[in-house]
Symmetry: C3
Subunit: 335 residues, 3 copies
């Protein structure tokens, strides 16, 4: 439950790679990483939040990334960097390198004869549909389904059990986590005298470059036009994105969010966990929606928006809720 | 991101098929569909919402479906129909026909020798369990798991990666989207002095005819009796339906909804996105639950029910929430 | 939709096995189970809730489990037990025994040569990664993916379509339902001038003994340290557990719950359906969170906590919501 063991590097080598200055013994070997409070000999860690000052001073880590102003906080080898957390993230990429791709098609995969998968890796029990293209450097994990007429860009990583249905398009460097479904039918029905009539969903899903899509997240194909996910969008697990939604570049969407049909979310927005966006709305760029908040009207001004009932003990909640209900009866508003 | 290309038809042929009257050049070829504002030459589109009047007049579409009263709104070929949206939906089925089924069992599927799959299509890496029946005309997609003693009706479409576990029954013409799980164990435990004891879940799931179930939706098997989904029910993505729930005919359930154990939902209800129904409740027929609303008591009168905190700027929300909390302390209600 | 047929037993044999006393004809055969109100000849059922007294008296069940005090409620064979529901649960295990494991590796599975799967059952189209260990008595269902360097304990049951990614560890007797994803990357990004930069997620997921994880639930791997699920934890369907979360022993988490990154939930807690826990919080032992409630501050006292807007007719809700919004404007609070 503690430290993670990576590829060994010396402090000096790492400092050079991440653009830090090394104070102390540069020959010390870094063999793993851990948080400040549990790091041990061989570990790299970082310090930037002043509330962890004591932990930094007492840390048993071999190497600590710190700001210049904190250079004296510990006596181990220190790597001086203006942004310790970012430098630590860069170090992770060096200590835990992704294994180089072996481009090969598993004999246990089913690849349509009209598909193009040159330079890609296709793992066991994956299916690649007719006329589909998988770009060079991409990994199609085990048990992934890629339908007909799909385009997967270059250097994508599609984890086991993802489904990308017919005609969807993914840009380059996308990461799709296990169980994500891209291109399921939108929820489109018309009422009739005898129940609901399905409306064919003939659009598809267009995903930009550098998009990450979380585990078991679902993105429906468009009804007529396409559902569009912009470049650099990051989507967490168990998110539902309905048909015709458009999400602007570099927006981040936390877990359990739902965006209903035909809603538009701007660029650089942040949707907190379990927030919901009602259909056909428009949210402008640079909006932050707090977790658990339901957005029921369009938003035209950047800023943070919130709407959750304050949580309290169940006993107090009963009183507040009763009072709210009574108030409307005592003072009926017009309408 | 725009128009979708379908099977070409002439305006006159389409008019005849959908029961519309053709005004203007009936020989024009329809080669695709698009929304009113982006439709181009060759496209079919429709007009019914008066706020899009200007878009209709200016549309470059080749063929427009309109009501009689709007026949003069554009000069392209028009198809006159009393319900343009419904007529457009019918046209989609003609322009984007589903490929005829090739009944065959992939040599890469695993079909139990005691299963019956005559007239069905079973794709690669699918599993069909012992004594299971798949009806004629049904498609079992790649990587689908159908357990033992399951009945799948006729003309169903089970998308890649669906799991239907032991003894579940699906009616005819059901559509299950990727990642849906039917028949997982209900959440049934009894407290003991040393933690929770699992209660065997011995019921199953019974799904009616013409049911659509969204991507990554889960429907648990019953504890003793069965979980029952009525005819014509439409369920969106990432919906959780717990053990022993009963959903009445033609009810529509939007994305991210949860229905807790042993709740009963009537016929022709509409549950908005991310609404929740508490366990053991009963909701009568013809109830509309607004998105994000938690239903915590039974509902016996048709109508619309709502309970979401109004959303505002985060700054205002802090004030409202504080005031709510204070109010209870200033004016303690009895109890 | 009614009774479930199990392995036949006599009333006397069952009474002996579950520690009950048999009143009446002990030779009667039990062939199935059903609820009190629909039970028929051959069925076992139970009575413990006094509001079902009439149903018990009128039940056509062959055998009824009741408390001593209710021994006279019916004339059929009765099994006297101080906890009828618990005794019924024990009876279910006898009437519906799990088929004995046949330890074998399907020729259609892909098992790495460095994996150890002695005494386990590996079904079709499953993948077992390099250096992975699957304990004796465990079942790896069809289409399951187990990555490299994973440890699965003994007597686990992994249902079809589960994904357990690299380096995760599962204890003994765990049950994972279809579509669950264990070890997907946490949602870790750093802002840069040109969008988000992914932070490598180098931790993993450690799951204790006797844990049950629901269908399509997702548990992310830790960023640096591990995500930890304690012994005896029960997690329902469509739950999202983010990176670095720790859940204490014997906590129960209902469907559609989200727990954000680095939150800690104590032991013996119960999180109601669709409740949400904000990141970096700590919830102490023995806390009950009501369904639909968002926990936005740490909780240090055991008890029940609630925060959901009271639901009413849509017409009344509009008035309450408007009044709430107005109140803040009429009486501006400081801040």
């Amino acid at each position: 439950m503690g430290r993670q063991v990576g590829r060994p590097l010396t402090a000096q080598t790492l400092a050079h790679s991440i653009g830090a200055r090394c104070l102390g013994d540069g020959t010390v070997q870094i063999t793993g990483v851990a948080s400040l409070d549990i790091a041990a000999v061989g570990d790299l860690t970082f310090f930037s939040d002043t509330k962890h000052r004591a932990a930094a001073t007492n840390s048993a880590a071999s190497v600590l990334i710190v700001r210049e102003v904190d250079a004296d906080i510990a006596s181990c080898t220190r790597l001086i960097h203006p942004a310790p957390h970012a430098a630590f993230a860069a170090a992770l990429d060096l200590l835990f390198p992704i294994a180089p791709l072996r481009a090969e098609v598993s004999p246990l995969a089913q690849v349509a004869s009209s598909a193009s998968v040159d330079g890609a890796r296709i793992e066991a029990f994956a299916c690649i549909g007719e006329r589909t293209t998988v770009g060079s450097g991409s990994v199609i994990g085990a048990q992934v389904f890629i339908g007909d007429d799909v385009i997967v860009g270059e250097n994508c990583r599609i984890y086991p059990g993802v489904r990308v249905l017919a005609r969807a398009r993914l840009g380059d460097r996308c990461i799709l986590h296990s169980g994500a479904v891209i291109g399921s039918d939108g929820f489109g029905f018309q009422p009739t005298g005898r129940g609901w009539r399905k409306v064919a969903q003939v659009g598809t899903v267009i995903v930009g470059n550098d998009v990450e899509i979380g585990a078991n997240t679902t993105i429906d194909r468009g009804a007529i036009e396409d559902t569009v996910i912009g470049n650099g969008v990051k989507i967490d697990n168990l998110v539902q994105i309905a048909h015709n939604v458009r999400v602007g570049d570099n927006t981040a969407i936390a877990g359990c969010v739902g965006i209903a049909g035909s809603a538009t979310v701007g660029a650089r927005c942040m949707l907190g966990g379990a927030s919901m966006v009602v259909g056909h709305l428009s949210i402008c760029d640079d909006v932050i929606v707090s977790g658990g908040t339901l957005i029921a009207t369009s938003i035209t001004q950047p800023g943070q928006y919130t709407g959750v009932f304050p949580t309290t003990t169940h006993r107090e909640w009963i009183k507040i809720a009763a009072k709210l209900r009574r108030s409307i009866k005592a003072n009926p508003a017009p309408g």
